[in-house]
């Protein structure tokens, strides 16, 4: 459905997109995951032909995307990172206005606007002006304006920034519902939990190029980390740290402020082996927990830094 090949975008000396390659299939919920400034929004803006780029090709629905590709734009819905609604118009009027930019038929438009209002849970706020809405409701209005015409492709650029948990869950559920209704979704975020929760396939992006692409499971299999064990309130000397690092399957340890983080590859009984060592050496400790690898671990292992750095 979408093919991006060798996309290069520079802002002066800064290379925002560095030979970015992406292929997105019909029916996917495709996540673009990366820290702030990694190039996600730039990639989206190039995809929408809003930004010039130095090199590369972009095709959507098999056709090259240009600023005057009105036939392609008809089937795309975009939810921008910043709320883009008219303050002078009510919730209903805003949704109706943006729907009118895509749909000419009045009866069809009315039905679509009603659907969008119900979908975004704005039934009780249809006459309110945006300035009177809470942050979460405003985001929902922003989404409603972007998807009201029921497009085949929906691009959501960090739609949950500064949104309360209740609205966030509603938005994420809504995105999955849109996908179930047949829309292909591109979802950009730096919240790995969200991406992990809703995306069927993910591209991890940093410094303007794709580091890895795959399903959550495929991405996790790409890395050494099979498990991370965290032990709090533990006092260790250099010798003990060396001993732990030498235990089977342990490949990395991090000890800061009496918190020990041990990264191990995917073997069984890792936690038992660590606890046995601490018991044998009479080392006292506080809370202990074990975590399976997250997308943050994938990002950490690939780039050497945390997603939210």
């Amino acid at each position: 459905m979408i093919h991006i090949e060798n996309l290069v975008k520079r802002y002066g000396n800064l290379t925002a997109l560095d030979h970015l390659n992406l292929d997105i299939q019909k029916g996917e919920v495709f996540g673009l995951l990366g820290p702030n400034g990694s190039g996600k929004t730039t990639a989206i803006n190039c995809l929408l032909a809003l930004l010039k780029y130095e090199k590369g090709t972009i095709t959507i629905f098999g056709k090259p995307m240009r600023p005057d590709s009105y036939d392609i734009k008809r089937d795309i819905g975009v939810v921008m990172q910043n709320v883009a609604v008219f303050d002078q118009m009510s919730v209903y009027e805003n949704i109706d206005y943006f729907c009118g930019l895509y749909v000419k038929n009045k009866a069809e438009r009315r039905a679509l606007v009603e659907d969008a209002i119900i979908f975004s849970g704005l039934e009780d706020f249809r006459k309110m002006r945006p300035k009177k809405l809470s942050g979460g409701l405003l985001r929902r209005l922003n989404i409603a304006c972007g998807i009201v015409h029921k497009p085949k492709l929906i691009i959501l650029d960090e739609p949950t920034v500064a949104v309360d948990p209740q609205s966030r869950n509603r938005i994420l559920e809504g995105i999955l519902e849109l996908n179930r209704q047949g829309s292909t979704i591109i979802y950009t975020s730096h919240y790995m939990e969200e991406v992990e929760q809703i995306c069927s396939r993910i591209a991890i992006i940093d410094h303007g190029h794709v580091l890895a692409t795959g399903t959550t499971e495929e991405l996790k299999k790409m890395i050494k980390t099979g498990e991370t064990i965290t032990i709090e309130a533990i006092a260790l000397d250099e010798g003990a740290l060396k001993d732990i690092l030498a235990l089977p399957h342990v490949f990395d340890i991090n000890y800061e402020e009496q918190v020990l983080k041990i990264r191990l590859n995917g073997a069984r009984h890792n936690l038992v082996r660590i606890l046995n060592y601490l018991q044998e050496h009479d080392i006292s400790f506080g809370r202990v927990f074990s975590e399976l690898p997250t997308l943050n671990d994938v990002f950490l292992e690939i780039t050497g830094k945390e997603l939210r750095d």
Binding site: Y11, L50, P67, K73, I76, F86, Q88, Y97
Partner: protein, 380 residues
Amino acid sequence: MLHLLKYRFLQTLRNYSMMFWALVFPIILGTFFYFSFGTSGAEGWGETEWESVKTAVIEEDSASENAQIFLEFLNRLDGDILDLKRVSSESEALKALTNEKVRGIFYVKETPSLTVAENGIPESILTSLLDNYNQNTAMFREIAETHPEKLKEASSALENYRTLLREESLGGNSLDPNVQYFFALIAYACLSGAFLGVHSSFDSQANLSSLGARRSITPTHKLKLVLVDMTVLVTIHFINILILNLYITQALGISLGSDISSLLLVDFMGSTIGIAIGLALGCISKFSLGTKLNATVAITLVPGFLAGLMFGNMKNIIELHCPIINRINPAAVLSDAFYCMSIYNDMERFVRCIIILAAMSILLVFLAFLGIRRDCYDSI
């Protein structure tokens, strides 16, 4: 289309700060004018006693046939519209002009010319006289070459010109100079529509606003968006100008003349050119809104200054040294249209002004469309 028009109307009308500057501010300014300049214009037209315009005449080339015709033309107006003072040297004439003993100097030569020191109704009448004489002269030459038998008839027409000028310029019309401030105010209000245009273009460009980005990625053609904006803004701005006219005439009691249809036409073309300037300025360049608004201030003030809306004689200085500026400066053209309508009653010149304003508006809207038609930005 109606759907887009409806919502653009609502959105613009509910933008109260923008409407304040477009509608309320000129009304407040008009009220200040009214109290500052007194109520001398309030009693209506035709009340001011007419005085002949004191004018110096220098015969530089009395041998020339054209100079003779021009001198004859001036003599016919002497003691009626003009009060001629013959001077032998230019320095004497300039001294009289500087001391305001005369309002202008006519140079009688093969190609007659005029020097004025200020901008005012007497000076405008002198300019108009010279313009009309030049137009008629060209006509005479053409008639002499093509139909010499009709030359006598044409000469009679020239004689009638004096009566015509007197009747049309003065018959029923006051030349109260205070009224010109209200025309200047209307011209300023028309041009300040540029602010509405710039604000509107802000909503069309992805590099300036999220709304611009959202509107840029819809399948609605850019030309349609520009035309919708233009239609809505011109209508709203025209209504604003009509309200200002009504306020000046009904609340302040200042008469803007009896030719309502011409006044409406100038108001409409003024509104159109104001909005078109704003749209073009907003859409062509890729600067921030702040920079564009600053440029709009300049765009509304500089032409106004060059047209003499702030410094009286400027328009005549421009006319003398670089007349093309007066032909393309929308403020000067607007001001000229108001004068043609209310003072000169020069329909040909009035029509020329309206055509210039219409042509410039079309050109500017086209440029605005070109500016955003296939816009793709370096950065957002």
